[in-house]
């Protein structure tokens, strides 16, 4: 963990960033309000105001849509932390490693959350002693393999090859990447723990050396659940905010056609739609409808890539991964699914009609 200990001083500058952004939006907000009150006619100012209001509509759209799911995920995480002990959790998993990783890939069927909710939940499970491979498989698969997304994808594509391939591929990639983590048994080298950052006088250690949870009243337990959920909501919420800011700027300032015009041909189209999926950061529950819009102009393999890769890795998810995993692990988690998706997408383009 020594590499994390040194990285404190350069963070100061980054700490100012949210304040600068806040001040910027404060001024833009005032400008829009004054523009409304005094009915400014200046073309330049009007065009800025319009851009700002389009930007904020997309930003708030993403945030309002995702915040309830994030809250749900953090509440679930709080409940697991407070009401389950590590032993109870690990007893639920099958002994066989491959079987338990596969189960991790299907866990989303029981926790129907999209990527904003699955990340805090996966982190909690891993910190609670659920093996990392299982947690990773859950993390990558849950945004797609869950009842809500199955229903919406079926609504969009019906009983077609794309529908089945989306779930099959996601499962295979998630479990495959998960299994890879079997080779690194040290959770410390994968996960980011914050022990060293915390000031111990703040904290209360609920688990004693033996890992047993001391007795609390139900009220206290619920209060603790709420506090853990809130801590996590703010911790992860910041990445939701940053991700939504980036996605909204993408959508407001860069015409989609530029990217779309690039992508034809069996290989390039797969690549372009994978990248578009990352940049758009659309929630997995609706991306199938957006993908449907591309069916006329894009190859089937590339649409599949959009549907498989987008939910695993997008702007906000990547930022949240940085909070859960060490940097080099995040790189693996971003690149490996991308490569696997590209291979699968190109294969579909070449061999499946």
């Amino acid at each position: 963990m020594s590499d994390d200990l040194v990285a404190v001083p350069k963070k100061r500058l980054l700490d100012l960033l949210p304040i600068v952004i806040l001040a910027g939006f404060f001024l833009l907000g005032l400008m829009s309000r004054f523009g409304q009150i005094f009915d400014w006619k200046n073309e330049f100012i009007l065009s800025i105001i319009e851009r700002v209001s389009n930007f904020s509509a997309v930003f708030l759209g993403i945030f309002i849509e995702a915040a309830p799911y994030l809250l749900l995920g953090t509440l679930a995480s709080g409940l697991i932390e407070v009401f389950f002990s590590a032993q109870e959790l690990s007893r639920l998993l099958p002994r066989n490693k491959i079987l338990s990783v596969s189960l991790g890939g299907l866990l989303g069927l029981f926790f129907p959350v999209c990527e904003c909710g699955s990340i805090p939940l996966a982190r909690r499970l891993m910190r609670k002693g659920v093996p990392v491979p299982v947690g990773v498989a859950f993390l990558l698969a849950a945004p797609v393999i869950n009842p809500i997304v199955i229903a919406s994808t079926f609504a969009a594509f019906g009983n077609t090859a794309i529908f089945w391939l989306r779930f099959g591929l996601t499962f295979l990639i998630a479990v495959g990447v998960g299994l890879l983590f079997l080779f690194e048994p040290e959770a410390n080298r994968i996960l980011k723990f914050d022990h060293q950052e915390s000031d111990h006088s703040f904290h209360f250690h609920p688990e004693n050396a033996a890992g047993e949870v001391p007795a609390f009243s139900l009220g206290q337990k619920l209060q603790r659940t709420a506090m853990i959920a809130a801590d996590e909501f703010f911790e992860m919420g910041r990445f939701l905010v940053v991700g939504a800011l980036l996605a909204a700027s993408m959508q407001t300032f860069i015409p989609q056609n530029y990217l779309l015009a690039l992508g034809q041909g069996p290989l390039l189209s797969v690549f372009v739609l994978s990248i578009l999926a990352v940049l758009l950061s659309i929630c997995s529950t609706v991306d199938s409808f957006v993908a449907l819009a591309f069916t006329g102009t894009f190859t089937n393999g590339s649409i599949l890539a959009f549907l498989v890769y987008g939910p695993m890795v997008d702007i906000k998810a990547t930022l949240m991964y940085l909070r859960v995993f060490k940097k080099r692990i995040v790189i693996v988690l971003v690149l490996l699914p991308l490569l696997l998706t590209l291979v699968a997408g190109v294969a579909v383009n070449l061999w499946v009609r």
């Binding site: 700490d15 509509a57 919420g237």
Partner: protein
């Protein structure tokens, strides 16, 4: 910051977020951001946040909480979460303006987000009540579109020009939203109108006329032969929800 201050600040932000969500649900402007199906979710999230804020504020002296997640960076993450609050309360709530279509492109094709193949509900509407979305859906999912020829149409949308159109044509478009504004897609119907060129792009118009068929690449699309095209203010609810 001491834990007590962090907790109070967290409680304040939670309460503001909750209030923001609830106030948008209350005055209906939440529909400028998300599809109506998700409003109930935002409502419960708002309530939940208010309750959480209460718990946080009450428990600001206690040390119950997570011993792993908090640390030096707590204040920064709080500043970030203020961003949606400032944008939400300060920037006037406005729908995506039609000019955003330049970034997104316009579809005349199958209602992507509205893949409900059952057209019986639309058929129950009288032709003049059908929206842009209804017409496109009707043409995508009907076996035979000839009965619709000559039916009267009365639709509202914004003006959009496409390079492939003739000089006496324009498109009347609407944004459809399946989930949130991030997935907004513009749908449009081609309108035949002699004075098409004088209309202001992206302005809102009400088009009345009769429906006809236009064929491209072996597929049939609706086209409106306009009788009148009059400028109208932007509708209160500019999006269509499939």
């Amino acid at each position: 910051m001491t834990l007590r201050v962090v907790r109070s600040f967290q409680a304040l932000l939670m309460a503001l977020l909750g209030l923001y969500l609830l106030s948008r649900v209350w005055n209906g402007s939440i529909l400028l951001y998300i599809n109506q199906r998700f409003v109930i979710l935002a409502f419960f999230a708002g309530l939940c946040m208010i309750i959480l804020a209460q718990v946080l504020y009450k428990g600001r002296h206690s040390a119950l909480g997570d011993h792993e997640n908090r640390g030096e960076n707590a204040p920064t993450s709080l500043w970030w979460v203020m961003v949606p609050i400032v944008i939400g309360f300060l920037i006037p709530p406005r729908p995506l303006s039609p000019s955003a279509v330049n970034n997104r492109g316009m579809m005349i094709d199958a209602p992507l987000s509205a893949r409900i193949e059952d057209t019986s509900q639309i058929l129950e509407l009288s032709p003049t009540e059908r929206t842009v979305l209804d017409w496109i859906r009707l043409f995508s999912y009907s076996e035979d579109v000839t009965p619709y020829i000559g039916q009267p149409a009365d639709v509202t949308g914004f003006v959009f020009y496409d390079g492939r159109l003739n000089s006496n044509q324009f498109m009347v478009g609407r944004f459809t939203i399946t989930c949130c504004v991030a997935d907004a897609t513009a749908l449009g119907i081609i309108v035949q109108y002699p004075e098409a060129a004088v209309l202001k792009e992206h302005s809102w118009v009400r088009v009345t006329g009769t429906v006809d068929i236009f064929e491209r690449d072996g597929r049939q699309y609706p086209i409106i032969i306009a009788e009148t095209v009059q400028p109208v203010p932007q509708p209160e609810q500019p999006y269509l929800f499939p």
